[in-house]
């Protein structure tokens, strides 16, 4: 649950100057608490407080109109028997399992290309980053139009190369792949983090590798990948957390349809909280999502010693 140091150190240089002895203020801790007050109140009111409250709510039946009623584990029991819940879990799982690795691979590849020394590279970097800045509902509406079965530009182009495109958003089998494609379009943010990581790799290592006769591919495999693994780790954790929370695209582009083919957990949660006012049940879904994210993150953390390479290890060994 606690933020693991590598997440921060993956991207932020740890070489902060040592603190000098500071002349103390009188009543320094009082001032310190005053400065921390917004964050402490924020924790209590908007994060930790509500998180605990939603755990409690998940054991109740509550529709806002009548007071919450304790029903124990009934919400969870109902959830695990609901077909739609399993469908939502399936949709979120497929989306995460496909879009996260694909997105990471694409972002890494792009970052390597964008790191090449070449004139006009800033223009390319800006173009690839653009979808991260320009996003949200407007772009979601745009994708609806792009995926239009008959007149959308995607099927028009597919038609040009002789492929009869599917009905995408209207087709149960193709709606989710369409959303995954949409997510890949916005991979610029992840790319930028990889790019920052690439620029932190000392050039000497590549020169040394070249002297040893390593070609481009071997340099990538033996220098870039290991030295970038902490950034990959960071992006993987963020990617998992992000993928399990996708809402805008699913809600605006497909409304969870057709036939629940894009009913993400987040959309399922929204429906119960704000359409059916099933607040207790919605809280149970939320806590399930939370535990799912925590479990997956924990697995990634536990696996990190096997594939993430830290600078300190290199110095130590």
């Amino acid at each position: 649950m606690q933020a693991h140091p590598p997440v921060g150190s993956a991207i932020v240089s740890d070489t902060l100057p040592a603190q000098r002895p500071i002349r103390r203020w009188t009543r320094e801790s009082f001032h310190a608490y005053v400065f921390m007050l917004p964050a402490i109140l924020g924790l209590l009111l908007f994060t930790l407080g509500p998180a605990i409250a939603s755990l409690w709510l998940s054991f109740t039946e509550y529709n806002i109109l009548t007071p919450p009623e304790w029903i124990g584990l009934a919400n969870y029991a109902e959830m695990f028997q609901a077909q739609l819940f399993w469908q939502a879990l399936r949709v979120s799982a497929i989306y995460s399992v496909v879009s996260v690795p694909l997105g990471l691979t694409l972002a890494l590849g792009l970052a390597v290309l964008l790191n090449h020394k070449m004139r006009g590279m800033m223009v390319f970097r800006s173009i690839y980053y653009l979808p991260t800045v320009i996003s949200g509902v407007g772009v979601a509406m745009l994708w609806r139009w792009l995926f239009n079965a008959e007149f959308g530009v995607i099927n028009v182009l597919l038609d040009k190369v002789g492929i009869n495109g599917p009905a995408w958003l209207l087709d149960q089998r193709w709606a989710l792949p369409a959303l995954i494609f949409t997510s890949l379009w916005g991979v610029g943010g992840t790319t930028l983090i990889f790019l920052a990581g690439l620029q932190g790799i000392p050039q000497e290592l590549y020169e040394a590798a070249e002297i040893d006769g390593a070609g481009r591919w071997n340099q990538f495999r033996s220098v870039t990948l290991p030295l970038l693994s902490n950034v990959t780790f960071f992006n993987l954790v963020l990617g998992i957390i992000g993928a399990l929370q996708v809402f805008t695209d699913a809600f605006v582009i497909t409304r969870g349809g057709p036939n629940h083919a894009t009913l993400f957990l987040s959309v399922y949660l929204y429906q119960h909280a704000f359409l059916y006012l099933n607040m207790g049940y919605a809280a149970a879904i939320a806590w399930f999502m939370f535990l799912l994210v925590m479990t997956l993150t924990l697995i990634v953390f536990k696996s990190s010693p096997f594939w993430v390479f830290y600078e300190s290890e290199r110095r130590g060994k």
Binding site: M1, A3, G8, V12, S13, P17, R23, W25, E28, S29, F30, A32, V34, L37, P38, L41, L43, T47, P50, A51, S54, L57, I64, L113, M118, F124, S126, Y128, Y129, L130, V133, I134, S135, G136, M141, L142, W143, W145, L146, E150, F151, V153, T190, L192, A196, Q199, R216, G242, L244, Q245, V246, T248, D249, V252, L269, A273, A286, W287, F290, V293
Partner: protein
Amino acid sequence: MARQISTLPFWRTRGGQDRLVTAAIFMVLLVGGAVVLLPFFWMLSTALKLPEQVYLSPPVWLPFPPQFVNFWTALTRVPFHLYAFNTTIIVTFVMIGTLLSCSFTAYGFARLNAPGKDFIFMLVLATLMLPGAVTLVPTYLMFNSLGWVNTFLPLIVPSFFGSAFNIFLLRQFYLTIPVELEDAARIDGASPYRIWWSIMLPLSMPVLATVAVFTFVATYNDFFTPLIYLADEDKYTIAVALSYFQGSPRIGPQMHLLMAAVTVSLLPPLILFLAAQRYFVRGIVRDQGVAARPLPIYSLS
């Protein structure tokens, strides 16, 4: 040393290979860039069409003459000025709240000591891992019992209580500022609040600009929060209003008007991006040594 006069064909020489690689990279990036930009081109093309040109096969790629009047029609058929006004109010206050609360808190974490400070800081960072869904229902219920639903308050007030990532970013920056700068002010008897306001804030302008830019984009693009809290149409933000355009009686299935509205809605972040590019791309990759925050556009809060 004898200069190596190459008898190898150009593509076997080092320089030749480098140039070939550069050319290949350029081509790949060019094609990829076209894929990234194609949706925007299609959007603009549709926005400039006559209604009867929209649903044609094969499509009209470059409508001539372009129908610039579509923008005017789309924006006046709905109270767009109202949505823009609402969005401006919300974004402005959220930016003020975020900048003030995050820099204030970050200064405390960076410079002052108190029992439990590190623990509180860890807790703040831990909230980065908390999915928005978990806090959603109780937060909604809290604002509901305060009578704040269908006002801007649930969208604005939380920003005055700091956000983990920005606090972290600013704290890291404050740690790199030499303490000596503050010492003189301290000897003159300045309070820590005075030092934060008069010394640290001006010194941290570049980082504050980064925070401001990301806060603007995240708030402007936020869809979920206004969707659940704003009920009346005259309180909608641009994002929420846009989501109701399709199938609305006024815009209906008129794709050219919808795309005109979408185009206008994308302009503010686009202009900001072009104007403050170094804070997005160059500033983040090179100068700060801090990676970009992936914008929480998909997050549930």
